[in-house]
């Protein structure tokens, strides 16, 4: 195309083909974006459908109240379910004070010294350590050194160490969201630092903190890798004692069944998966409800 001919053409027409092409590539890109999200949601739906189709026929009262068995038709998950709930409770009970205390220290007390910077960096690095490594730590410290044995207590404490960094990071976020005017108001009334934290900042941050703790408990209940090292691989037909004796938990029970080649074991594994997913759903709903209730009175 020569110079004279281009200048003669109306600019709107001259840009038309290029603009069409640019808009077309935009549309193609948008299509790709929709496809990406579509693939993810499709995978989620397929997963749920596959688990439901396989598992629902096996899910009955006997399954919920029975113990493990070498024959799939007789197998149940009660010991594993109780084990998981006990582990979850231990995690919640220990994480609640320690996680909140650590977050309060890091956000409300820590001055900008090297010690505090080390603490902070350390916690974010811990959040990136693979979960199975925590199992090795738990095996060395809780099972052997403190001689707690391969028990639910050891499992709970190990998972507590695993989720503490996540809880602390979430709690710090919640504390950060509290406006400084709240703190200044408390000081103006003559509060000491702890009175300020307890009376003013902590109540305001509690919805975020509680949500973080419950979601972390859900994560702990779904976690299997560290517990392989804490001896959760037991054939337990009785209800476990949290402080002595062997135990198993839902994810490990699922793992045990899923590894067997027979189709029936895949069926009961799927049924156990339905149970654990429902458990997670309940915990997530609980977190939402609690958040809504706690934040009802908070207004800045």
């Amino acid at each position: 195309m020569s110079l004279t001919s281009t200048s003669a053409v109306d600019p709107a027409v001259r840009f038309e083909p290029a603009l069409m092409r640019r808009k077309l590539s935009g549309t193609v890109f948008y299509g790709l974006c929709v496809m990406a999200v579509g693939i993810l949601l499709l995978a989620l739906v397929m997963l749920l459908a596959d688990v439901l189709v396989r598992g629902l026929p096996w899910l009955d009262w006997d399954f919920m109240t029975g113990g493990p068995s070498r024959r799939p038709a007789n197998a149940g998950i009660l010991p594993a379910l109780v084990g998981s709930l006990m582990v979850g409770i231990i995690v919640g009970v220990v994480t609640f004070p320690v996680g909140i205390a650590a977050a309060i220290y890091l956000n409300e007390y820590a001055s900008d010294s090297w010690v505090n910077r080390v603490l902070q960096t350390n916690i974010s690095n811990l959040a990136g350590v693979p979960s199975i490594i925590y199992g090795i730590l738990g095996l060395a410290v809780f099972v052997r050194l403190m001689e707690l044995g391969s028990t639910i207590l050891s499992a709970g404490l190990t998972l507590t160490l695993l989720i503490l960094p996540v809880v602390i990071i979430a709690s710090i976020e919640a504390l950060r969201a509290v406006p400084n005017a709240q703190r200044e108001g408390a000081y103006a009334l003559g509060a000491t630092r702890w009175q300020m934290v307890r009376g003013s900042v902590l109540p305001a941050a509690s919805p975020g903190i509680m949500t973080g703790i419950i979601l972390a408990m859900a994560r702990a209940i779904g976690e299997a890798a560290p517990l392989i090292l804490i001896g959760a691989f037991a054939f337990v037909t009785f209800l476990p004692n949290p402080f002595t004796g062997s135990y198993t938990v839902l994810p490990i029970q699922i793992y045990d069944w899923a590894r067997r080649p027979q189709d029936d074991f895949a069926g009961i594994a799927a049924a156990a998966i339905i149970v654990i997913l429902v458990l997670m759903l309940v915990l997530n709903a609980l977190a939402l409800i609690l958040r809504a209730r706690l934040s009802r009175h908070i207004q800045w």
Binding site: L47, A102, Y109, A110, R183, T192, E223, A224, A225
Partner: protein, 304 residues
């Protein structure tokens, strides 16, 4: 570090000091955890190296912990780990970034409020469930029909890798979405005023401006993929071999640790000591990636 106001008075009752000490100890528990992990791994790894030479461990190309003659070359486990993580990232990076763009720049607030939690649900599914899905659905009903029975088995790096990718995709999508949304509106509007189309704004303005967050999310996802245990020990198999063929069954570092821990391995045996040496290697891999991600954020961050 903190920007919260401090009390003007320096006087502190004893009770306040006790409380502050307790709070400090809670925060310091993390340091104890780190120290515990490092000490346990270092001591046990040193014990392992008294039986097996470090040279054989780091350069050997054969790993056999179960069948005599034993061989302790960690490279097959490392290659298995890298193979699975690479497949995972090939799935997760494009899908995660495209999903992030949809959430940050195309979706209406209502769509975003529904889709983002749904995607994050995937990351919240227990990984054992995802592993079950790989073995019972992806391999037998998708991969084997497509690739053929003679080319791929129930256990393969491909099947495990795709599902690990599915697990870490929401991580990339979520963090990258946050990073792209943090790009100020004015920069987008400036580009629109120059006549750019929406795709051009995303590609040439939003994406480069958010690159530090995006890269950090990808590195974190890679670190998660390397440390993932349950999916790989179910779906990838337990055949340590030095190969980069995705249709083969391999063994990752995490799957080896799980295998030894499940089995009736005596705690003083070489196999059990090898578990710690492999765990130490794994920790070094993830630690390097995590430090790298922090460095990328600091190095490439631009403030607006």
């Amino acid at each position: 570090m903190t920007s919260v106001p401090v009390p003007l008075t320096r006087r502190r009752p004893r009770s306040e000091r006790v409380i502050e000490t307790l709070l400090f100890l809670s925060a310091a528990l993390g340091v104890l955890t780190t120290a515990g992990i490092v000490l346990v791994l270092v001591f046990q790894t040193l014990e392992f190296f008294q039986v097996v030479s470090p040279v054989e461990f780091f350069t050997g190309t054969r790993w056999s912990a179960g069948i005599r003659p034993y061989a302790w070359g960690v490279l097959p486990l490392v290659s298995g780990t890298i193979l699975v993580a690479t497949i995972a990232m090939i799935v997760a990076v494009p899908v995660g970034l495209l999903a992030a763009v949809l959430l940050s720049d195309y979706a209406s607030p209502r769509v975003r409020a529904t889709v983002k939690p749904l995607l994050e649900t995937i990351a919240g599914i227990p990984t054992i469930v995802l592993g079950f899905f790989a073995v019972n659905f992806l391999a037998p009903q998708v991969l084997i029909p497509i690739l053929g029975k003679q080319n791929i088995g129930t256990f393969s790096a491909l099947s495990g890798g795709i599902i690990v990718g599915l697990l870490v995709t929401p991580l990339i999508a979520s963090i990258s979405d946050d990073a792209m949304r943090a790009v100020p509106r004015g920069m987008r509007e400036g580009a629109y005023a120059m006549g750019a189309t929406k795709f051009e704004v995303i590609r040439k303005v939003v994406f480069p401006a958010a690159i530090s967050g995006i890269m950090a999310s990808i590195i974190l996802a890679a670190s998660r993929a390397i440390g993932e245990t349950m999916i790989v020990s179910l779906a990838v198999g337990d055949k340590p071999q030095l190969t980069f063929d995705p249709t083969e069954s391999v063994q990752t570092m995490t799957a080896f640790i799980a295998q030894i821990a499940i089995g009736e391995t005596a705690q003083g045996s070489v196999q059990f000591k090898a578990l710690f040496a492999v765990a130490a290697t794994l920790l070094v891999f993830t630690l390097v990636l995590n430090l790298l991600s922090g460095w990328v954020v600091r190095r490439f961050r631009t403030e607006y």
